[in-house]
Amino acid sequence: MRIPTAHGLAEALRGRYAQLRQAWLDLPAPQRWITAFLVAMIVGGVVIRIQGVPWPTWFTFDEEPFVKNAHSYALSIADNNDHPPFGKMLIAVGMLIFGYNSLGWRFVPLLFGLQSVCLAYWLARTLFNSKRAGWMAAAFMAADGFFISYSRSGLLDGMMISFMLWGMVAAICARSWKSVLIAGVLIGFSTSVKWSGAMTAVPAAVAILLLRRVSIYSILWLAVVPIVHTLIWMGALRLTGKPSDPVSTWKVIIGLYKHHLDLGHYKNELTSPWYGWPILMHPIVVKMSTSGLKSRYSSSIGNLLFWSTTTLLVVAFPITTLVIAIRSRFKRYWLNFLGMDTTRGALLMLLGWFSFMAPWLATRGTRGNYTFSHYYLPCYAFLLVMLAGFAAHLEKKHGKLIAGYIGLALAVSIFYAPVWGEFSISTAAANHRLWFVTWRP
């Protein structure tokens, strides 16, 4: 292997810079604007996630049970929380590094939050076969408050999403049964953070079947999901000195499952029904602290432009596709407008959205309205990737329109950044952004 010299490196960098400069000059004006907006979204999104993450130094929202149990894992004490162990074990890693303090318990969720931005890029790029779609997905996720607030808190949802995206990427990139097995393991990790992560297996399996890059029987490797989940749980029980044989583990899992079904009896003023999530009925202020006359908020309200567009797409896109499927004479206009790859990728993301909605529709009889807006986080991740696919496709023909759209989305993000990233603001300034009573703490 030849070690490059400093001169060689400088030459290579100069060459690369010249290439990028030429590529920039070759871009039409709207695409240049779009590129600038995307860069601003990604850089801003990363900065806003990281800055001041240890504040407040006390527990907010649901952090307390997760963090206390993470601390328990680090001390080999039994877990008494009602979620699978893996997420809390991961939070414990941050506490091993920084100690039992707010930076320690928010460090690993932050890493996963940043990772999700990269994974959104990877997923959209492979799914739509377009780097541009990848950059857009990364930017949309980076500049959305729903993901920002969960990246800044010691909660499980951001980690579950990250493993979900890993699983989807592995399934879409799969070229052999081994890759499908890896996808299964990653989905198993997601399931071991929160059970809803298991729903990733549905779009992952359909992706494998649709793309036909591996034998259709290889989807059987996704059966590894419950095995990975059980093994992780057994390991956690063993770590805390509890009976960890398969039968005892199974009893613990079943006990917890019954407890979850029974949650409908509980009351919590932060709950919201599933149909309220796509219309932002009750987003939660995940973190809040007051000092003097100013407060710091980290609201889980999303970027309103992305949110409204994706909600419209959830309704309009399947109906349009159905009409096209029935009245095939519209098909060529449709394919001329969106293209086959974009349509297929978008439908797959829509399936992901539905897969993560389905458990809450199915268990409404037992859980009632004891559901929370953050259950929509994985659904929304799929929708943002879908939106990126559409935007990247339409950019080629309707550059100005997409530039305007993304520019407006950036403006919305800038306006909402103070209530996503815990800037010190007055209540009046917060209320200018959190319009409705149900949006406020």
Partner: protein, 215 residues
Amino acid sequence: MSPSPEEVAGDSSIAAADAPSAPAPSSGAPPAPQEISAPVVEVKAPPAPKNVLLYSLSGFLCIGVALWLILAWAGYKDKYSQQTEGWRLGSTKMLEITLIRDDKKNLACASEKAFAGVHCGFRINGQPWGTTPDTDPNVLQPFNTVKNELFLAAGLWQSPILQGTLPAERFTVVCNYHILGVLKAVSLRWSATGTFGPVDQSVTVGNLTDCVIPQ
């Protein structure tokens, strides 16, 4: 990284130059036979290792992180006790402790370990260490806070506020508690005639100073 065609060509020319040349015919030697063209042997360069450096570095990094995490995990148990959440080794906490005046004689712990000179009043086999808490500020005793948090502390009875006549009924004192260590295996006794019973979780060990009785 696989070499480019130019590099391959360059390498082969170098190889040809470096190859040992045929020996020069010595004088008087029979004339060289008719020149026979040597058979062309295609020398294949060994396949370049793919990303060996990257894999090795990643492997070392993973092993390093894993080892470090294991060590950090072991260290975490020395810094925090299982009994009291978030009480960190080296920190000082203000505690409100619930007491009766007989606790001076009633409360005792048994362990072989000592932290910065402080130790239990008894060894693990029940033999007294030699000194008692009312005379020695280095003898540990178990106490509970008003929030029912268990900890081991020394130096309480040497506080000026507890030197006079103590209240006959249950009372509380507020002290600064400096954490010196975490005791993983210890037995406790709660009455002068009682037996020592083991605690199933680790307990913090420290000194009590600046005690006051809240008025």
